[in-house]
Symmetry: C2
Subunit: 388 residues, 2 copies
Amino acid sequence: MELHSQPVMPRGFQCASVNCGLKESGTDLSLFLSEVTCSAAAVFTLNQFPGAPVIVGREIMKNGRLRAIVVNSKVSNVGTGETGIENARRMGLAVAREFSVDAGEVLMSSTGVIAKPLPIEKIEGGIGDLKQHLSSDPLVGAQGIMTTDTYPKALSLSVGSATLTMVAKGAGMIEPNMATMLVYAFTDAKIESKNLDAMLRKAVDTSFNMLSVDTDTSTSDTCVIMANGLQGTVDEDAFSEALQFICTEMTKKIARDGEGATKLLLTEAVNAFSREEARIIAKSLVNSPLIKTMAFGADPNIGRVLMAVGKCFSCHVRPERVEVFINETLVYKNQARVDFDEDKVRKLLSGDKVHIKVNLNEGSGEALAYGCDFTHGYIDENAAYYSS
Amino acid sequence: MELHSQPVMPRGFQCASVNCGLKESGTDLSLFLSEVTCSAAAVFTLNQFPGAPVIVGREIMKNGRLRAIVVNSKVSNVGTGETGIENARRMGLAVAREFSVDAGEVLMSSTGVIAKPLPIEKIEGGIGDLKQHLSSDPLVGAQGIMTTDTYPKALSLSVGSATLTMVAKGAGMIEPNMATMLVYAFTDAKIESKNLDAMLRKAVDTSFNMLSVDTDTSTSDTCVIMANGLQGTVDEDAFSEALQFICTEMTKKIARDGEGATKLLLTEAVNAFSREEARIIAKSLVNSPLIKTMAFGADPNIGRVLMAVGKCFSCHVRPERVEVFINETLVYKNQARVDFDEDKVRKLLSGDKVHIKVNLNEGSGEALAYGCDFTHGYIDENAAYYSS
């Protein structure tokens, strides 16, 4: 499968972004709009302090239909009680009025500082300005939802005669750096919301759900797909595969652009006792601060890999069966360090990708997790900050 | 309860440390010795790649009797297979020969690089030199087990006519910085090993088991207590309390001296649904990179606290009931930020202690976790390192 060299909104979709006064410079309010009602599906954060837009969004998604998504950055509308819920609804209502669509088909997201009131008047004002900025370039919409991302993120690919486009933001998991993961996918293929939902959950399961920048789960994470059907039906197996592919590519993009990151960190567990155990082990590796600093330091540190596997107390791990590969080089087997070319491995690790693979030799469970290295940049972005 | 201003080995205990050639400078081999056989108890790491000394140590502790503990730093004897087991036994045998004690009463520990052979000849040579350095100052023994600790750690207190002394190392959880948690406690009180075991488990449960420097569980963690009985019996309730107290004080010392740490981080969950849930929530807070960088940055970031509580998916968390205190100041209640004196709280946070307390208002579960802030120093110590 191949990504388009230049992303584009699918047929019948447009997007826009403006500065409505939340950020000092750059756009801070985005709209994604379909000219007809779409079937749609979404998954939201499991955090028990969900943002008001997530609470309202879950309701809206019950109908499986959407026309538009409106998103502001800088303030997250989380931890804001009843007023927050009201403000989330007002965002949707303003879009409904301005674009003559049903308020029940407008999803809203907010990302940024927690426990501060949403400046709803500014946002309502900004929504009035969006119409004159509508564009078919998804990067325009991606720009307005950025927080600590270093660049806007959008990808497109073709499925038969249809286009599938995805816009996202990532970076860290939460403010102060006003991060959170927001992912929006758009297609002009015709697919029922029930099927979209199944495909989305399947794709997210092995992509965004295997991504970790810093173990901290945002209160606002949202992943939505809208299908407006303007290009008719497509082979749904092919579409499902395409959705899987684009989710995985976007996952890597978000990982590589994690707060302070200089490298993509891939951690893989193969031949684990079960798929569930493979996921636990891959996640333990990708989340270990000692593995993440090892990636930054480009050192083939076998001990840290064994430690991170061994601390999965609930999993089947027998030291005598475990093999470790670092960037495709076997470094540990039969309970002993293998005699490998360390200089060569260090050189590989000093590139932009670190890949750690552990073979458990226990069963057939497999999982791959996505993350990034841990650097001074993360400390800088997250310590040198005032939340107010 | 009050700690002695100067720690001392209890009656009948001595310790020593020498350089046996593992480190370029400083001592790297320590011995702790009782003149009579002690009743003893120990807890070891749950990591599934336990070091050879842990595997052999579990066997030795089955008898609940010890005369001596021998410890080397720099090389951990982990991930070393059968040869590692043999080398661990050789360490114990060398001490048995040199000091005419039963080899089944000598516990050994090793801390340092993983998956490298233990330089057993050097260690055996060093064991021959220990006798001439025996001392009643526990800091002498504490010196030889240090890795990335910035200073040796020993504490003493009195229980009736008996003395209870604890020696420990901490810093990070594993190499490259050759860290691991090793804790040794000594007393001249007379207590059966069965009772010692129960008291040790109880004390560890709320102290060392609630400590996290970096979420990474070492393959070598060991906590042992030896009671030689030379001062006769003591009130065991008082002793149990004293053990709890000294474990908690040592936990704070290790947390404060975590790799790169500048502050002690205390996170507390009160009125949680259950004790188990309180522990999960307190641990989620103490381990969150965003909480740890917030402590470093001295910012009262309410959003990060809500996030870290909310990501405890398995716990009872109702946003409308949650209250947050930062260094004793109420900052969040009734789903809204409280109007508090931010400058005052920032000033408190810029001291050497950050205390975050969350009231769940769900039940009566309580837990307190111990950690440290996340700083450039941690990245430096763990990235700028070659494992070979």
